[in-house]
């Protein structure tokens, strides 16, 4: 007689071998690998985005007659990429033949060092981006047209002893503020993109620490 599914189920699990649980060790091995490779993928994508974005902007700047802005943006962006590629190479020095916890801790330390360097850099490159943009507009062939486009009506540049003081002062002020708050802007920026990965990493480390205690 044919067995019902209920009988197959009951009989099948009467044998204790059917319910052998896998060992719950190395629980975080896979998670550690996932989180780090996810960060690496995002980080590489970001750097490629910077190179592509700045290159496209350079081409646009050439045709839009804001070449200085294009060249400046291209140089600063690629300098950031070069620094970060060098930082990324140091990631290879992390010993992978250690426990998940030690590997994650080493990665976390690398990440913190990398963020610290980038925060310092941000205090330089945010004002530089801003100054490049202003200088780019200033030296563009059709400055008045661009200015009118930005501000909405025709404008006159006021010079004090031949020096555009009313322009330079706010530029210095804004650049100064960017230099002061560059690290905070960078933190905001980075958290927008990597926030979830950072939280996950901290969560995993906290979990492993609790498991170890």
């Amino acid at each position: 007689m044919e067995k019902s599914i209920e009988t197959i189920w009951k009989d099948g699990f009467l044998n204790n071998d059917a319910l052998v649980a896998p060992k719950v060790n190395n629980i975080y091995n896979l998670k550690s690998k996932h989180i780090i490779s996810k960060f690496n993928r995002m980080f590489k994508r970001n750097l490629i985005g910077l190179v592509l974005g700045s290159s496209l902007f350079l081409i646009y700047a050439f045709f839009a007659d804001i070449l200085i802005m294009g060249i400046g943006t291209f140089i600063i962006s690629n300098a950031i990429v070069i620094v970060n590629l060098k930082l990324m190479k140091t990631l290879k020095n992390i010993d992978k033949n250690v426990s998940s916890y030690n590997y994650l801790k080493a990665f976390d330390k690398w990440l913190k060092d990398q963020l610290r360097i980038n925060r310092k850099l941000a205090r330089i490159y945010y004002p530089l981006f801003f100054i490049t943009a202003i200088v780019g507009i200033w030296f563009s062939g059709n400055f008045q047209t661009i200015l009118s486009e930005i501000l909405g009506k025709p404008h006159q540049i006021y010079l004090v002893n031949g020096f555009p003081i009313l322009w330079v002062l706010p530029i210095i002020l804004i650049s100064g503020l960017m230099a002061i708050f560059g690290d905070k802007i960078y933190n905001f920026d980075v958290n927008l993109i990597y926030g979830r990965v950072f939280r996950k990493l901290n969560e995993i480390i906290a979990d492993i620490e609790e498991l170890r205690n």
């Binding site: 067995k3 599914i5 209920e6 197959i8 189920w9 009989d11 099948g12 699990f13 044998n15 071998d17 059917a18 319910l19 052998v20 649980a21 896998p22 719950v24 629980i27 896979l30 979990d207 498991l211």
Partner: protein, 159 residues
């Protein structure tokens, strides 16, 4: 995870977890990943358990939710759309049990939709309809009709 918690709150229910994880995985490697993830989540969410249901119900619910989430994640990663009646790859790993009838039953269960798999697993574990409805989030009547339909489909698949 303290060994006390593991021994008292997970080991007695490991059978439930194994049965559920087996139904949602096609390889031993995936099975072990799912099993570990369920154990980990049971431990991580233990403080959220308020005792309104039995601990076993809590474990069922968590196991199913985690398996469904993991299967979704895996499918998204593969950029592969799973149809309601997705036929799993046939492999040696599918045959995880020494009882051949049980292997065939699992093969058939794996051909059901993800929700139908959950329903039939709970039914086979003799959970009351009310509890199944509560875990799945549907009505008692719907569960009764669904179980009849699933059993008919399984019968066809097994013959």
């Amino acid at each position: 995870m303290s060994s006390d918690f593991y021994m008292n709150s997970i080991v007695p229910y490991s059978g439930i977890i194994i049965k559920i994880c087996r139904a949602y995985t096609d390889s031993q490697e995936d099975f072990e990943d799912y099993y570990q993830e369920v154990c980990l989540q049971v431990w991580r969410t233990k403080d959220q358990f308020r005792g309104e249901s039995k601990w076993s119900t809590w474990v069922y619910r968590l196991s199913l939710n985690i398996c469904l989430t993991m299967i979704k994640k895996k499918n998204n990663n593969r950029q592969h759309t799973v149809t309601d009646y997705n036929v799993p790859e046939s492999s040696e790993d599918n045959h995880a049990f020494s009882d051949e009838s049980l292997n065939l039953l699992y093969d058939a269960i794996k051909q059901l939709s993800e929700i139908d798999r959950a329903v039939i697993l709970l039914y086979l574990e003799e959970r009351p309809y009310k509890e199944i409805a509560e875990i799945i989030g549907t009505s008692h009547n719907n569960i009764a009709v669904r179980i009849t339909r699933i059993k008919e489909r399984l019968k066809k698949l097994l013959n």
